[in-house]
């Protein structure tokens, strides 16, 4: 059967609310409005206003309240309408959620999930399009997950909620409405995916393509297309950006000897720079060519559709770069 990412996230939340009464949801418009992007649809009706809490537009405050309640043993799922707005509360994510277990010598854990759409959507311009994967994955104490398909969305979100550590869960608005095949296993109410493990989406011997979130889909398309030209691409879906599954990446590169990373975020100190670095640290002698990164353009996001397209990796950009790399 098929399932949209939206339904995958919604069902994951539903099941985890049902499973553990310490789990609750808070954020703007998560309740009566059913979620700005309808991820929490139906949950207020099912679990009541004590467990699905609409907040005022005060990210610093509700993020801090969520973290405090997690210190006390609850398991909040804190929705940001988008991750751009989480910057207003980011001090609580970094200085309180991520660091307290360590500072308290293991006494106070923080089982919380910060979730919401991250990165570019369509036509929402510079203040609503930033990718925060690099920032959060920079910080020890946090785990950072980014689902691509419905299986990821269910398995990773359920794992994140059950995890005793603070998890930053980066969704993609454009994927919400996209449908993916799901097996009965994925639909099981105890289906979870391991945090810290990447998924090999497609095997190939000529080139390794690594990506997360929406770019995984692009890479799969590119792999299909280039397969017709005789280029066999291995596609890795990171799933977990922190911890990073270095082993899966490096093993693939040992086989293909060529690697490329694709992300929509900015290049400097991006996720791509880390992936390139890890590959050259662990498989330098295996590389037949420099690792390539295809990233979002190094500019604030423009509004006009024709400019926006050029500010983000397109399938053709990836094809061009992959072809070039495969020939090196």
């Amino acid at each position: 059967s098929e399932m949209t990412v939206r339904d995958a996230l919604n069902s994951a939340l539903d099941e985890e609310l049902a499973r553990d009464d310490k789990v609750y949801i808070l954020g703007e418009e998560v309740g009566e409005y059913q979620g700005a992007y309808k991820i929490t649809r139906g949950l207020l009706q099912k679990y009541g206003a004590d467990r699905v809490k609409d907040t005022p537009i005060t990210e610093a405050g509700f993020c801090g309240i969520a973290v405090g309640s997690a210190f006390a043993g609850l398991k909040p799922v804190c929705e940001f309408m988008t991750f751009n707005f989480a910057m207003q509360g980011i001090d609580q994510i970094i200085n309180s959620a991520a660091k307290t277990l360590y500072m308290s010598a293991g006494q106070i854990s923080c089982p919380i999930v910060f979730r919401g759409p991250n990165g570019a959507a369509a036509g929402v311009a510079a203040q609503h399009s930033q990718c925060f994967a690099a920032w959060y994955s920079h910080c020890p104490g946090l785990k950072v997950l980014a689902p691509y398909d419905a299986e990821d969305a269910r398995g990773l979100l359920k794992a994140a909620i059950r995890d005793p550590d603070p998890v930053v869960f980066l969704e993609n608005e454009i994927l919400y409405g996209q449908s993916f095949p799901v097996t009965p296993e994925v639909l099981d109410k105890d289906f979870t995916l391991p945090i810290g493990k990447a998924k090999l989406m497609r095997k190939g011997k000529d080139l390794t393509l690594v990506a997360f979130s929406k770019m995984v889909g692009y890479c799969l398309t590119v792999a299909e297309k280039l397969s017709k030209e005789g280029i066999e691409i291995e596609v890795i879906n990171l799933r977990s950006i922190k911890p990073l599954d270095r082993e899966t990446i490096v093993n693939s590169v040992r086989k293909t000897h060529r690697a490329m990373f694709v992300e929509e975020g900015w290049p400097q100190c991006g996720v791509g720079s880390e992936i390139v670095t890890v590959i050259q640290e662990h498989a330098f002698d295996e590389l037949d060519a420099p690792v390539v990164r295809v990233t979002g353009a190094e500019i604030p996001m423009p509004y006009a559709a024709n400019l926006e397209i050029q500010a983000l990796p397109q399938i053709d950009d990836i094809i061009t770069a992959a072809r070039k790399l495969a020939k090196k």
């Binding site: 409005y33 036509g123 311009a125 295809v294 423009p302 509004y303 006009a304 559709a305 024709n306 400019l307």
Partner: protein, 365 residues
Amino acid sequence: ASDKILIEVQPFSAHKIEAPSNKVETTLSELRAHYLFMYRMRRMEIAADMMYKAKLIRGFCHLYDGQEAVLTGIEAALTKQDSIVTSYRDHCHHISRGGTIEEVMAELFGRSTGATKGLGGSMHMYNRKANFYGGNGIVGAQIPLGAGLAFAHKYRKEPNVAITMYGDGAANQGQKYEALNMAALWNIPIIFVCENNHYGMGTAEWRHAKNSSFYTRGDFVPGLKADGMDVLAVKQVVSYAKKYALEHGPIILELDTYRYHGHSMSDPGSTYRSRDEINAMRTERDPIERVKKLLLANGFDAAELKKMDKEVKKEVDDAVEKAKAAPIPPDHWLWKNVYAAPANTELRKVDGGYNTPDYDPEYKN
């Protein structure tokens, strides 16, 4: 037309300040100007709604219809030397600060002739020369920014105020309280304008604010509340506030208003409030109808009004057509104005190459 008309607006509510008189004077020619301006806004926003539905506009699009009297009254009390900054609901500010409807529509269509050349989009319009500082997509961010604009006026010893406009939802933001405190400590000439349209997205004021008398929430900062559906009330209270702010520092104005449309285009606007409520607003409190009635009651020629309406509709229709016909921004604009001094800067492209960006605020090259 220059004969004085005396009107009693709804009395103002006051917090730690004496309210101004609710007896205001106007003239037919002033009323005509208000009407015209508000009707232009109204038609522009209705056009934006249609164009959005026709898929000519992308992303977020927040409409201002219903709230026209707020901005119109504010501008009537200010000069273009006074600074203004607002939220994402900013199309009309572009007009009130000297821009054209065509520029707004072109921006929404992502055209090179747009208010911000297709770079900014719906939420990001500005007019630096007329002291309009945007358009801000982050709820609450415009509040300290506005205080900063006012700080600059004071620093330069200019006889001007800044106005920051924010919603009832934004009124809960912590940065508002931080800005209030500093503005009061430093006597900054800033008018905090809370446009209370009673909903922050889908959340009614009583669900998001423990105290929804927003004009009282400044504690030590005085506040006034006015009918934000009455342009004359708004003008009166803002004139008074400007004088106060220049002498004493910050003041809060709560302007009671209503947005007819949903929060943005993805919100039908009818799940969290009743159709009855919306209809009642339209029939009983519409800011444009109010002025229209006043005009007619004071002898303004009905035919002239019809003619004005027709001209406005034509202006908007023409603006839409011109905007549609305008070219999209050329590719190389992507790399302009990331920095005002881009020396030694190269910006990385998607394909891994680098671009040497330029500073070209006139988009000449």
